[in-house]
Symmetry: D3
Subunit: 232 residues, 6 copies
């Protein structure tokens, strides 16, 4: 199968990080295409950044479709443009927050999310409502780090995330942690061992969910919500 | 006060219709600015059309802010770009679906929505969840008319809407009807009389809600969710 | 338009305070009628006080109707008698808790409420469920002050409220504060500046919501829930 | 134990009917006191009638307390004044809608309610939300009979109720029926046999729930919500 | 009436404790049958222990039915096998968690649960959702004691429970406590007095609920969910 | 990876059918182990049948663990014993209802379920609540066929299912169909084409979800809910 992973922001190192995770965990016969728009914000921190990323993101979806993608992963934890992309595509389109939340409920009776900035907390809380997952989501926490500090290694990003996970373990009565940013995709194993709790990354979850759906020969329903855009 | 009403699609006759409703119902000291993006879809029918409208919509929000707007109405029943616009603006930003749903719960213990196309039904249902209004929303119904038929008078649009309202009255046990499209803003009085049930339009509701919030000297909270976009 | 503001308790200074807020913020063409029953409890602190206020409250609604009221505000944060008053009246009847909660969700993704006594906390929590607002309500907090201490200046009422707001800001991850008592209507501006968070008062919100609904020519639906009382 | 059953309306034949049900089903050592206010509406049909009944209802609660009541049943399916009565009393206060809904969930995975008038439907729906029972409540239906027709035998009341139950059985996928009016308390056995589904009456349920709570030596919590009214 | 109380674990001292509570609080004409399976786990601590208890539990239900039971109490706070037992029996089958939660909402606007081990917390939280009681349940807390320590007097079980109740009173804003284990059935009076809050036990609640339902001549609905098992 | 698929009933032809679906859709490197208990009911139709299957099901889980299973699928749409099996196992344990519901929400904004018998409808509705999926589940429908008629070809099972799907398409406003029985696993492609709507089978979904979780190196959290059973 051919899988397109699209990072909606324009930071190529994040796109590469997602690609590396995918290459490491993908099935043998999965071909990976990873891209990002050029004219998108450097990072997605809030609703406006989401909006600014959408035109480019849609273009990448179209390019991926031309490439022959069987499924699409949108690699930003706010899951921007998910439903619009589903209208464009026939193959399944998977958000990384969505995939992580659904899959984690199979492993644990509850989870907390650790994301980057406080401003992303209400966005992720709203996603948990939208996906029916609020019942399982103990708390959405911010480590108070800018997204790009995950790339440039400033701000002691990893230490702050670890500290926030340990607080979640102590205070939230949660049984798993979801990392709330595509830029954290490379940290799961280390953090899981250090903090002694399953730590789940959405990029990896979405990759596997995409392989699952394609493997099951399932496609986006074209009845109502995700029917093709009307040509105008 | 200065109120910007922004129609996210590019059909000027709809913008004018919204403006006329506003001019007819506004407070004396409310100054109306009505606009639409030029490069937006002709109508917003589904998630992809929403996404296509957002860049232009944000530009209009910025123009309105430069004009000195005290509040902003986004005149499309899908409430596209609402949260992103709130990040940009200091004055309140009001969606027409949002305003109609909130205000109707003060007048009636339940309502049904009559919108244009089936593909918009799940979008509006999701909005009712997002706003905490699903408890009051009996049913979202489609009259099966394209948005633009409301402008060009084809399809017997008005008759189809009336028929769907009468079905709602008979089947849904609802106490009010909300019209689920900005293009229906001029139909409320006639339909309310014909169908013998309060018929609520979101453009009008959002206009008055905007005047209310500005009159109460209330502004968008800049803590977390709607804080200003981070400059990159 | 003619707006009746009815304080269900019998403390005239609270009625006056509500009237002053209304006179300060009302539209030019809004005429204010403020009253309270004579034989009502001095303050409404709990369900029994609510019940004791209702007969007098209904009489005031009737008097206001005779006066020609276009809309009615019930100025007690427990929103007593709201639905019964809607049966009596044709013009909209607005509760101050209701108005504050609905309008605040347009300005902020979440809020906490600061009220007077602990016994009012479950009442307000239940209202948040009833209005579909529990999703937005982070916490209902009590400043542990009797309602009348807001009138006689005892108990350091203002300082206690301020302290509780600051705790909410620190602990609740909320983006706005709603003051949970009509007797706090004069404190919003000062507290908002001191605590650096939007502070919302229900009396003001209900005033503006009333003007909105009347301005939009919307009236209480007389289908089922709020149909006129059956004469016996 | 001493049990007070208070019918909030002033129709003595309904009070007698409730008393007869209680005398027939009570434990041996339960002493029944049945009363109604004199100055209450003849029947409770809507929120305003509820409000009109409350002052008298509270007086009856006080009289019952003087009599030495161990528990109190409020015999109207709208459960008016429940929380206020709990503030006054130390012994448990039980609503008949409340008791019927809770107890029915032990017997059936879902139920529908058949009440008198359409205007009572939203009231009972709201009660189902308040009690956490909306998940079990398939539908609230009205037989379109005035409350008093249950007393005077007009309107073919019994036939209309039976017909509505049969519709519920056919359309609602429910496993039990709750009768939504104290005036229907004498109909359960006949209707249950005719319609071949458990038919539950709230007066009987509340009687038994009262005996249960007193038998378990449980009393109303005086922490916060139901603490004694503050003397003014 | 004849009431069967079945302790699903094989610790006879717990069965006896339940029986003693029942004998102390039962109605005069209630005959008590208390039993437990022989081949069940010594205590039910988690889902697997539940599963291991079910075959024996079903046998006890059948024996009790042969004995002529009018109702059945399953005396384990996880309410194992409740629905399956309802299929077997005609008389009502009551879970102790279920009974305690329903009855407590009549006495208090909210409660917290204090159970034995952390692993039982998500089980009880899920039950609160299942019964529609999550709205009333402030928190499920574990005293961190093995179930059997309640029998053998080790671990300072009683002190740990008391300490956890006091934490709930201080932190949870709750108005009643439910003890989350059948083995705590003898502690309610002492703990209620010491901690100054109503403390509710499920065994006692289920006993009285059983007497109520039988007294009201109500039986399990045999439509759909709890219809008799299909013979194979 | 090594995947155990356990059919909790004792009908081997159903086990074979599940195995065939798995062999057809599995990844190349997935090894399939399919089994069923010998002493289980022939089919699972209701809660009691579930209970009767659990002891054998747990034994199969243990055997599969000894075989070295990396993940486990419980192939009955009631998802019996899911949580207990998670306590026993380290590898993920997936229910077929669970997997189907989660995965379908990625493809469609809503679904209806078509199952065998009416008595299974409330069981599946309750599962949809438990998994947070009730928001997406339009309706659970029964085709009124015994489970085993899917094996022996009696009752026109396939035609009845097709008819019920077409009713769902017409009446439920759903965008996908989930087949609510493991015995329907071979029907998806044919029904999907005939009824022109995505038709989803839980066995296939659970297979792919299992491969996903193992591929992502995710295991059951051993904190609280699913920690290993305590040895007694």
């Amino acid at each position: 199968m051919k899988l397109a992973i699209i990072n909606p922001n324009s930071t190529e190192s994040m796109t590469q990080k997602c690609k590396e995770v995918a290459l490491k965990f993908k099935n043998n016969d999965t071909e990976i295409w990873a891209s990002n728009p050029e004219n998108s914000p450097k990072s997605i921190e809030g609703h406006y950044d989401e909006v600014k990323s959408l035109a480019g993101l849609m273009e990448e979806i179209k390019k991926a479709k031309d490439w022959g993608a069987d499924a699409y992963v949108i690699a930003c934890f706010d899951d921007p443009g998910l439903e619009a992309a589903r209208e464009l595509a026939e193959g399944p389109v998977i958000g990384i927050c969505e995939a992580a939340m659904h899959m984690t409920t199979i492993l644990a009776s509850s989870f907390s999310v650790v994301t980057t900035l406080n401003r992303s907390v209400p966005i992720i809380e709203e996603l948990s409502h939208k996906y029916g997952m609020s019942k399982f989501c103990r708390k959405v926490r911010a480590a108070n780090i800018p997204v790009l500090s995950l790339e440039d290694g400033t701000c002691n990003a990893k230490q702050k995330i670890e500290k926030e996970i340990l607080k979640a373990v102590e205070e939230d009565n949660c049984e798993a942690i979801i990392l709330g940013c595509a830029g954290m995709a490379d940290l799961t194993i280390e953090l899981s061992q250090k903090c002694n709790i399953p730590v789940v990354d959405g990029v990896l979850c979405a990759l596997k969910m995409a392989e699952s759906l394609v493997g099951a020969k399932l496609k986006t329903s074209k009845i109502n919500a995700y029917s093709y855009p009307i040509v105008k």
